[in-house]
Amino acid sequence: MAAPAPRPEAGGLLDAWPAPEGEAGWAAAARRRAAERLLARGAPGRRDEYWRFTNPASLLALPAASAEVLAEDATPIFEAIDRLRLVFLDGVFAPELSDSPELDGVEIEPLSSALTKDIHWAREAFGALEGRGQEPVDRPFATLNTARAREGFAIRVTGRAARPVSLVYLRRDAGADAQVRHVLRLEAGADLTLIESGAGAARFNQVLEAEIGEGAALHHVRTQGRDHGRRAATALFARLGRAATFKSFTLTLNGRLTRNEAVIEFAGDDAVAHVAGACVGDGDFHHDDTVFVTHGALGCESRQVFKKVLRAGAVGVFQGKILVQPVAQKTDGYQISQALLLDDDSQFLAKPELEIYADDVACSHGSTCGAVDEHMLFYLTSRGIPRAEAEELLVLAFLDEAIAEIEDARIAAGMRERLAAWLARRRG
C-alpha cells in the first residue's frame, strides 16, 4: 500500500548506484523489478506512517555525509570465538583480510559471482523475501538494495556448520556509502551461527534474507560498531519453515542514525523466532527498531525484546507489530520494548501493534519508559557503591533481559563486557 501523499522521487537514488552489468538474466530481472517498484512507490518521507519517528532525509541525501572512522574499533569482541571471518572494507569484500570461505556444511559464494551463475537456490531466493516483505509496509531501502547492491554473500547451509560465520565490516574511508546484501538458505535440519560486527560505512545499507528450512536453526548476533557519525539502514528478512528456529540479537553503541528493520514470517507450524536488541547512546544518536512479525502458521512462538538506554538528547524508536493470520491458531506472541532515560533530554517513541485474526492465541505486549529507580540507587549506594557505578550496574541490569536472549554464553559475556566498557568510557 503506497501512502496517499506523494513521496519523494527515488530516481536519483537509483541513478547514484548504476545497475550491475554482466549478471544472469534472472538476477537482472530481479533487479529490474525492484528498481521499478522503487520508482513507482517513491522514496520514504516523513508523512509515511513508518517514518514518522525517524527522518529518512540523511539516508536519502546525495552524496552521503561522511563520518569519522573510529580508529581503535577493531571489534575485538568476538576474538575468542573460533569462526570463519569474512571481512568487508567500506562495504567491499576484502579476500586478503578474510579466511578462505570454506566450511563443512556450508557453501559460501560472493554475491557478485552467485548472480552471474545459474545457481538454483540463489535464483529462487535473491529478492524473494525482500519482495514479500514489502506488503503491507514499504521497505524502500531494502528495495534499493535489491536493485543495486553488488557486495555480500550467498550462503547455503546444508548441515551443521562447523564454525560460526563472521562478517566483519571495517571502515577506512570516512565518506564511504555502501550497500551490502546477503542471501541465506538453511536447508532442512541445518544449523548456523552468523555473527556480524562493525560499522560498515559512513552510510550503510544492508539487507539479509534468510530462508530457514524445516527444523533448521539460524542464530544471528550483531554489533553495529561504535563510530559516532555513521548512519545505517538495515533490514533482516526471515521466513521460517516447520519447527525452524531463528534467534537474532543486535547490540548498537553510538551511531548518528540506525534503522534496523526485521521482517519475520512464519510459513510452517511450530517454529520459533526471537528478535532482540540492546542499544546505548548519548547525544546525537537516533536508534530505530522496526519489527514486523507475521504468524501465518499454527503454533508458532515469536518474541521481541528491545531495550534502549538513552542520554543527552538521544532518541529511541520502537515500532513492533505482530500480525496473526486466521490460520495461525495457538500463536504465542510476545513483545516488550523499554527505554531507560538517563536524563530529561532524551526521548523514546514507541508504537506497539497487534493485529489478530485468530481466536485461540496468546499475544502480549508492553512498553515502558522511565528513569533509573531511585530506591534501587539508594540501596546500592547505601552499601558503599558510588552513585555512578551503581547507576551503571542498574543500566546493565536493565539491558540484561535482551542480552539473555543470546544463547551462546561466551557471546553474551562479550556483549556485557562491551556495554560495561561503553559505560566506563562515559563515566570518564
Binding site: T381, S382, I385
Partner: protein, 251 residues
C-alpha cells in the same frame, strides 16, 4: 561512636517536620534500641543517618566518631562504617546477589585505600558467612532480593552486614514480617557480630526482638523526639502497658 544532636528534619516535598530535635549517643560496643509508635519518626531517623534523598536537615548534627555524616554521600557513609539494614530491602532484577556483594565490598575497600578482595577469597568469605545465616548457594546466585521471602530478605540484609563488617549498624524494623524462627535466626546473626568495636541501633516497634538482641539502652520515640531513655526494663514496660500509658506519663 554515633552522636546525634538536636536533629531536626523535614520532608523536602511537603513542608512537614518529622524529627523535632532528636538527641542520642551510642557508645562503642553498645546496643541501643529505639522504640515508638507508628509515625513517630523512627524510620526517618534511620534514612537520614544513611543519607537517603528527600529529607532536609534544618537543625542539629549527626556524627560517626569525628565524621560529620550529614556532609557525606550515602556511599561515603557506608565506607566510613555505617550500615542500614532496610525495613523493606529493595529488589534489584538483573543484578546478581554475589556481584552486588562483591561490588559493594570492593568499593568500600577501595574508598578506604585497601586492596580489593579477589574472586576466590570473596567466594570463601561469603560462603562461610552465608552458612551461619542458613543462606544457600541458590539464594546467592539469584538477583538481589528478587523472589526472596520476607525472611530471606532480612537474612540477606544481615549477610551483607556480616560481609561488609560495618562498625555502626542500624537495623530498621528488622523483625517486621518475620515469624519467630526467622527472627531468632536473624537475631543470632546480629549477636554473632556484636563486639566491643561495633555498635547497634535497633529500631523496632515491638519488644519481642529485644528478647533476642539484648539492648544496653532503650529510647522511646514519639512525635519526632526521644521522650524517654532507660535500660531494658523500659522495653518491658512498653510490652506490658503499651505506648499510650508511657507517653501519657511523659506528657
Amino acid at each position: 561512636m554515633l552522636n546525634v544532636e538536636n536533629l531536626h528534619v523535614r520532608l523536602e516535598e511537603e513542608d512537614k517536620a518529622i524529627l523535632k530535635g532528636v538527641t542520642l549517643s551510642v557508645g562503642a560496643g553498645e546496643v541501643h534500641a529505639v522504640m515508638g509508635p507508628n509515625g513517630s519518626g523512627k524510620s526517618t531517623l534511620s534514612y537520614v543517618l544513611a543519607g537517603r534523598d528527600g529529607y532536609a536537615v534544618t537543625e542539629g548534627s549527626a556524627a560517626l566518631d569525628d565524621l560529620d555524616l550529614l556532609d557525606l554521600e550515602p556511599e561515603e557513609r557506608a565506607a566510613a562504617g555505617l550500615f542500614l539494614a532496610f525495613q523493606y530491602p529493595v529488589e534489584i532484577p538483573g543484578v546478581g546477589n554475589m556481584t552486588f556483594l562483591r561490588t559493594a565490598l570492593n568499593a568500600q575497600r577501595k574508598a578506604r585505600g585497601e586492596d580489593e578482595v579477589n574472586a576466590a577469597d570473596f567466594l570463601r568469605l561469603v560462603r562461610e558467612k552465608a552458612r551461619t545465616l542458613n543462606i544457600d548457594g541458590e539464594m546467592l546466585k539469584r538477583p538481589v532480593n528478587v523472589g526472596f521471602s520476607g525472611g530471606e530478605k532480612k537474612r540477606n540484609e544481615i549477610l551483607q552486614m556480616a560481609v561488609l563488617e560495618p562498625r555502626m549498624c542500624i537495623l530498621d524494623e528488622t523483625d517486621s514480617g518475620l515469624d519467630v524462627d526467622a527472627m531468632k535466626l536473624v537475631a543470632e546473626g546480629v549477636n554473632a557480630l556484636r563486639s566491643p568495636e561495633r555498635s547497634f541501633l535497633v529500631i523496632t516497634h515491638y519488644q519481642r526482638l529485644l528478647d533476642h538482641i539484648r539492648p544496653d539502652v532503650v529510647h522511646i520515640m514519639a512525635d519526632g523526639q526521644i521522650v524517654a531513655t532507660g535500660g531494658p526494663e523500659l522495653a518491658l514496660e512498653v510490652e506490658t502497658n503499651g505506648y499510650a500509658d508511657l507517653l501519657k506519663s511523659v506528657a
